[in-house]
């Protein structure tokens, strides 16, 4: 067996052995989905999709208002963010969604994307919402 082949296989096995430890850190620090990304954390954490709420900011008297329905043209950007968020947690920010919203609605000068993630509190056993707001301006 060639030395190169041995090195490739052993390096791969060492990386596969260390990755889940890093993965645990990502789950704890960034809410990355424990079930995904080869960390072998299936069934270790409840997998609850986040709710995404959008607030539009205008420079006039209307001020800030919630965007209650999303236009079909913007749905792919919203879906892409939701799916990415479900897997990668806080490692993903809604930059493309916000850019699409700002481009689509010329009357608004800013947008806030609020990610409401239900989490099971280990201590109390209660479901609690954990909100993160991302603000974007033109």
């Amino acid at each position: 067996m060639s030395k190169l082949k041995q090195i490739v296989v052993y390096t791969g096995l060492v990386l596969l052995t260390l990755w889940p430890l890093f993965h645990i850190g990502l789950v704890k620090r960034y809410d990355v989905n424990a079930w995904k990304l080869a960390g072998w954390g299936m069934y270790s954490v409840p997998q609850i999709p986040a709710d995404v709420r959008i607030l539009c900011h205008t420079p006039d008297d209307v001020g800030t208002y919630p965007l209650r329905t999303i236009r079909p043209e913007l749905e792919p950007a919203l879906l892409e963010f939701r799916l990415a968020r479900l897997g990668l947690g806080a490692l993903v920010e809604p930059d493309r969604l916000a850019r699409a919203l700002l481009d689509y609605y010329p009357a608004i000068d800013g947008v806030s994307v609020v990610v409401v993630q239900p989490v099971l509190n280990r201590r109390t056993g209660m479901i609690e919402d954990k909100s993160t707001t991302y603000d974007y301006y033109k």
Binding site: P20, M42, P46, L83, L120, T124, G125, I127
Partner: protein, 289 residues
């Protein structure tokens, strides 16, 4: 090399059994991948696009090549690429077993199973993957802390299979209470007063980690192997990830001293064929992933 010395602890096979068990596992592994694609496609047959059709044709040809044997290494390379494409197209939501299949297929492609030295490394690597999956499945549960008081399993009772398996451990009032929650803010507490339920919850991560470790020494391997198979069958009866279950039980059986796996190729093929027939609608539907 130190990894070689370390992995040599995983040896312990009847003379002549290594190539037989590797080949048997390789065939079952390829059949599982083929079944995964077919059962997934049959569920949404009318919506298949060109990518789905291409991947179905490819996976069928590649699996046939693995089973036939002559071009098995190249075919395994193809399966590794196909699964990489799948993970990429589903990223980041592809299941963990897809990553495992990439690694297994890549090992079968890179290492020559006809050369004794590479055969040994192949078997050691596959065994090490089994240990990693078992051990880290337990460690993740320990690290995230949702099993100490049964919180995760209490939350999971909304699934029929979990409710059927774990419901008998709870008083009926408590089961009704836990099932009534909808995983919305303010729901809970997902806690239980049943000591049996909490014990079962903690047993899961303890058993997973222990089995991972106990598969290493020869002295405990046989017991660990039998226990791991029983544990996996029980787990998959609840989780219903049947194809991963078949694949992983067969991977655990790579630890057997003899070439026991050879006798399981046909039963595994029949079981996987039944899953396809169920998806075709010729047998009653059962829930499986």
């Amino acid at each position: 090399m130190w990894p070689e010395r370390f992995l040599s602890q995983l040896d312990g096979d009847e003379p002549g059994s290594v190539p037989v068990k590797l080949r048997a596992f390789q065939i079952i592994f390829a059949l599982v991948i083929c079944t995964e694609y077919w059962t997934k496609a049959l569920r949404r047959w009318s919506e298949l696009d060109i990518e789905d059709v291409t991947s179905l044709v490819l996976v069928t040809l590649l699996c046939a090549a693995v089973a036939q044997g002559r071009w098995r290494r190249a075919a395994c390379g193809g399966l590794a690429l196909l699964q990489t494409w799948y993970v990429w197209s589903e990223f980041p939501l592809a299941g963990n077993h897809r990553y495992l299949e990439i690694v297994i297929a890549a090992l079968f492609a890179v290492l020559d199973d006809e050369r004794p030295e590479e055969q040994r490394l192949l078997l050691r690597s596959l065994r090490w993957l089994v240990i990693l999956v078992l051990f880290y499945s337990g460690l993740q549960k320990l690290a995230h802390g949702y099993y100490f008081r049964g919180q995760f399993l209490a939350y999971s009772l909304w699934r029929d299979a979990f409710r059927s398996a774990l419901g008998p451990l709870l008083a009926s009032g408590e089961l009704d209470r836990l099932v009534s929650y909808g995983a919305a803010a303010g729901d809970g507490p997902y806690l239980t007063s049943s000591p049996l339920f909490v014990a079962a919850s903690n047993a899961v991560w303890i058993v997973e980690m222990a089995l991972g470790v106990l598969l290493i020494p020869l002295a405990t391997r046989k017991l660990a192997l039998i226990s791991a198979c029983i544990f996996m069958i029980a787990t998959e009866a609840v989780a219903r990830e049947l194809m991963f279950g078949v694949e992983f039980v067969c991977a655990i059986l790579l630890f057997a001293r003899t070439a026991l796996l050879r006798r399981l190729v046909w039963p595994a093929a029949v079981l996987l064929a039944v899953l396809v027939v169920i998806r075709l609608g010729f047998l009653p539907e059962i829930l499986f992933h």
